[in-house]
Symmetry: C2
């Protein structure tokens, strides 16, 4: 039996509850596949929003930023909400009303924790790089104390978490299936173009395997 | 001279202010290009997040949902924040610290307004379809009163709005340019796969031109 997440009053899916996902592995997979997340935080009592990169280690979702960032300073010790959404396709129905999108979406509520200490911070940032471009961390020059001080790493436990998924074709009103209207879905996914050398790249350096492997072009 | 947006204390860009964009046409173009937006709203005093489709008409950004949706009911008359972000590429530097992403991002603060009345609501939903799949509205069966009642359309004025853009290659520490480390960018963009017929499609209906034109495959 798979590990199921227990919904809270906040994470119980109200609209389209048939799309709710509380399987922990499925939630992890969505977080791992999403390129970006959004973090909602309180700015003088009103909600504010910051898009950022995230990564996951076990049952924690991490993000980072400048230690001087207003988003990170204000979200310390306060309730925030994180959402990561992947758009998978457009669902074109026979009526405007039944148009939709296919997506996978994870929402996490909680009070963020801060990663403290040189070693823990370095490990967290290494985990970020291992997620973003596996095999690259080893190739880079070492991170230094000044950079570690300038960086804040935060995380939320995947406790108060829910996911919602829509997949498949349009669901039209029964009588509309007889109409002469094309209906279907159009899948969409991120596609990478060929890596572009930095203008100041040292002569003789080719695109390394870890970059080629990670960012395979759409048609390869 | 182009129309410039005046920053407020909330929309003044603090971190990376060289990336701030206050040109109104540029803000419009980012909103029009972004597939999704996120809306942050208050749920019992804590921030909550909802991803949704948006569209723009002039100086307003619109979204819609079920009239029974908690997000829409709770965000009536309350301050919300909307952000739409497009990921344009991965920026691979010579140190972990200078890794980044290229992106275009728009943030809007305000109290949402509701579109009232059959005609105004129909026009707004038509504008949504014209944005999502131009030429499709005319092919569909007409929207009816029950559907209009079940749908709430909201908008924010593009008054308290800001944008941030990062483009170009990595910016490394001067001494790191001498290292034997490949650096550069990997562009990313959404790519559409071929349209998939609905399983219950009426025989003889081909993918129409308005769908083919809107969702051109990546390599076409």
């Amino acid at each position: 039996m798979t590990d199921q997440i227990r919904p809270t009053p906040r994470t119980r899916v109200r609209r389209g509850h048939e799309r709710a996902v509380f399987d922990r592995d499925a939630v992890h997979a969505i977080l791992d596949a999403a390129a970006l997340c959004h973090i909602a935080w309180l700015l003088d009592g009103a909600p504010a929003l910051t898009p950022t990169l995230h990564w996951r280690v076990g049952d924690r979702v991490y993000w980072h930023g400048s230690s001087a960032s207003r988003t990170l300073r204000r979200s310390k010790g306060a309730e925030i909400c994180l959402n990561a959404t992947i758009l998978d396709g457009y669902v074109l129905a026979r009526s405007a009303f039944h148009h939709s999108v296919n997506y996978r979406s994870v929402t996490v509520f909680g009070v963020p924790q801060i990663v403290e200490g040189t070693q823990a911070k370095t490990e967290a940032l290494r985990a970020m790089m291992d997620h973003l471009v596996p095999g690259r961390w080893e190739k880079l020059r070492d991170i230094n104390d000044k950079e570690l001080k300038a960086t804040t790493v935060m995380w939320l436990p995947l406790d108060e978490v829910s996911a919602k998924v829509r997949a498949g074709g349009p669901i039209d009103d029964e009588e509309d299936y007889a109409l002469d209207i094309w209906a279907g879905t159009v899948p969409v996914a991120p596609a990478f173009a060929a890596p572009v050398d930095d203008a100041r790249l040292k002569p003789g350096l080719a695109v390394p395997a870890h970059v080629r492997d990670r960012f395979k072009a759409a048609q390869s």
